[in-house]
């Protein structure tokens, strides 16, 4: 390979892949047992781009040639851009050489669809197979499952990959139909369902035979583009809920739409990326997965959108002031996790530390609890607490006046979008 050509391919195919936001490299159990290269049993972010996102994997497309014409995608057929394609060997060499220098945790390979789904998927699987068998590579591999690919290929993919993902792209069928006329939501749901049952089946086998082979040990994930279409946060979070509950997904990613097209079905170029909304959705997602919240506690028909100026847990607390104040020396862990400003780690620390003595404000500070928000919602071993009977709106105003959101300058244009 000449170095100029490989440089050109890399910049085109990394640029085209960057809108896929998943970059997780954790959650796998693959170990270096064969004195080979790599160990995918821990997640590491090796670098951070200037937009502050983590770089954990070599995230590239095999090619950006595509027979589909999805309006939101840079690689759509009708877009007049430079096209390129890696050979299987080039991807393998890049992965191995980047990994050996400790640049990356592994490979995340996706592709535009050329010829047909199976033809594309076959090549992705071949890359993973070569890495695992010829190079004894035990690093992390995330393969994109191409919608419409055969079950045999998906099965083979699962044997080599740590994680598989199929992107749902749009939160509703209608939006997908509008913007991606070549894709059907069923084409996405079908492989997801197949992978779900295959993953469960292999887990069962693993329980019985310790040496049973791994099958996508880091599970599957998906991604939705946010802000390209008019869905409410309620619709989006119900979709996520469906994926977590019914499809056993490990992660749902939200990708704020970056305007890249003059297509009149989409927000015009220059529209700000909905970064605050994306951030609020992730916060809500965390509440669903780690804090025991249900979707209707966060968003409901009466309040279908997340607040942009405060986080969803604080919004919930302000709607449910009758639950507070909570006595942190008595309340159970589940309730402590629901206090605004107190995360899972802090909650665990509080419950562990209060076994020694009843905690005071000073103790809480020493533990490292941020009280900016929490102080309005708790009582502790002190006679000093918020006695005024503050209305929710007053609490919100006070909290907002104390903290300065890093997103402040973004608020106004964002809210006007919808």
């Amino acid at each position: 390979m000449t170095s100029d050509r490989i440089h050109e391919k890399l910049s085109i195919l990394a640029d085209a892949a960057k809108y896929d936001v998943s970059c997780a490299s954790s959650g796998s159990k693959r170990e270096n047992h064969n004195k080979g290269l790599g160990n995918a049993s821990n997640g590491i972010c090796h670098a951070y781009t200037e937009d502050g996102r983590c770089v954990s994997l070599l995230k590239i497309l095999l090619t950006n040639h595509c027979i589909f014409d999805c309006a939101y995608c840079v690689s759509r057929k009708s877009n007049d851009i430079k096209r390129a394609a890696f050979t299987v060997q080039e991807v393998v060499d890049l992965t191995i050489n980047f990994y050996r220098r400790n640049y990356i945790e592994g490979l995340f390979i996706s592709s535009g669809i050329f010829k047909n789904a199976d033809y594309t998927m076959e090549r992705l699987v071949l890359i993973a197979k070569k890495l695992r068998t010829e190079h004894k590579f035990n690093g992390y591999i995330h393969l994109k499952a191409i919608p419409g690919a055969s079950e045999e290929l998906l099965k083979e993919a699962g044997m080599y990959a740590d994680r598989l993902s199929v992107n749902i792209e749009m939160p509703t069928k209608e939006s997908l139909k509008l913007l991606a006329p070549d894709k059907k939501q069923d084409d996405v749901i079908h492989p997801m369902k197949y992978l779900k049952s295959a993953i469960i089946q292999h887990k069962e086998e693993k329980k019985q035979f310790r040496k049973a082979p791994l099958f996508a040990p880091a599970g599957q994930s998906t991604q939705m583009v946010i802000g390209a279409t008019p869905e409410s946060d309620l619709q989006i979070l119900l979709m996520s809920h469906f994926f977590y509950q019914k499809m056993n997904l490990k992660r749902v990613y939200y990708s704020g739409y970056v305007p890249i097209s003059t297509d009149n079905r989409l927000p015009s170029i220059g529209t700000p990326v909905p970064m605050v909304r994306e951030n609020r959705l992730y916060q809500a997602d965390w509440l669903l997965r780690f804090y025991g919240f249900t979707v209707d506690e966060i968003v409901a028909p009466d309040y279908p959108q997340l607040d942009m100026d405060i986080d969803p847990k604080l919004s919930w607390a302000l709607r449910n002031m009758d639950i507070f104040p909570v006595d942190i020396n008595k309340a159970d862990l589940q309730l402590i996790k629901r206090i605004p400003g107190i995360g899972v780690q802090s909650a665990n620390k509080i419950v562990a530390a209060r076994r020694y003595q009843n905690l005071t404000w000073d103790n809480l500070k020493k533990i490292g609890i941020s009280l900016t928000k929490a102080r309005y919602f708790i009582i502790c071993n002190s006679r000093d607490y918020e006695r005024r009977d503050l209305q929710p709106l007053q609490v919100k105003q006070q909290i907002l006046s104390l903290g300065k959101s890093k997103y402040q300058p973004n608020f106004s244009p964002q809210i006007r979008l919808f």
């Binding site: 490989i6 640029d15 170990e31 502050g52 220098r101 305007p259 530390a353």
Partner: protein
């Protein structure tokens, strides 16, 4: 009051703790030989590192606190600053109590030990992420680091598992020693490396012929995955503090 001096090793420190109990030294202050400064008021007690004594303290601790908490003691020690007396107070507290004290955030020593352990742990994690190997002509992957704390001992197993099939060397410029893996074992090496040897300027002589190519490809990749419309310099620096940039391939002047 007694000043107990030791040789700066972890076993030496544990021996010092052992002897503080053994000789019932009251108000003992533990310090390294290098940092020791004689005072009129304190007696001096010099400890000779003794593995058996160290092992007894370590085993005793494991009966009092969890494995995670003992590992925090080791992490805290590697902070490489004068934390011995905080650790000593923590250990005394652990031995005096009937159940584990590791969660007692109302105790200042517990809080401090945890804080230091947390800092060291974070530095270890950053090094696992930010170390950049360069391949030399004799097929050795080598990296130079300048961590805030003495984290090499914590990185040994990580890299041994990860790069079982390549020879590598990681050198700590501040502490002037490195760890070297020869495809079988990891050993400690001491040598003097010039600080300039990692700046990537003269790559042709020492390095493998493809080294420059892969460094420039990595720089290219790093640039290409950035989304300009989402620029967030504050977050970028928060995750990748500037003090690490010197040794990061992607943050060096463009090779191509």
């Amino acid at each position: 009051m007694t000043s107990i001096t030791y040789d700066g090793t972890f076993d030496g420190f544990l021996t010092a703790v052992f002897e503080a109990y053994e000789y019932k030294l009251k108000d003992a202050i533990i310090t390294t030989k290098q940092r020791y400064q004689p005072t009129v008021f304190a007696l001096k007690h010099e400890v000779i590192t003794n593995e058996a004594k160290a092992e007894r303290v370590w085993k005793g601790l494991k009966q009092k606190i969890s494995a995670k908490a003992t590992s925090e003691i080791y992490h805290c020690f590697l902070a490489d600053v004068a934390v011995e007396n905080t650790l000593y107070s923590y250990i005394q507290y652990a031995f005096s109590a009937s159940k584990t004290i590791e969660w007692d955030y109302t105790n200042i020593h517990v809080v401090q030990v945890r804080e230091w352990a947390h800092k060291v742990h974070r530095e270890r994690h950053r090094m696992a992420a930010f170390i950049r190997f360069q391949l030399t002509k004799d097929q050795l992957y080598y990296a130079v680091i300048q961590p805030d704390f003495n984290v090499l001992p914590l990185l040994e197993n990580h890299f041994k598992r990860r790069y079982a099939d390549q020879k590598w060397l990681i050198y700590d410029v501040f502490r002037r020693y490195g760890i070297y893996y020869d495809l079988k074992e990891v050993s400690v090496v001491e040598m003097t490396f010039s600080d300039d040897s990692n700046n990537g300027k003269d790559i042709s002589g020492v390095y493998d012929e493809d080294e420059g190519l892969y460094q420039s490809l990595w720089q290219n990749y790093f640039k290409s995955v950035n989304i300009q419309a989402r620029k967030n310099t504050k977050l970028h620096i928060q995750h990748m503090p500037k003090r690490y940039w010197k040794h990061l391939t992607e943050k060096k002047p463009l090779i191509r």
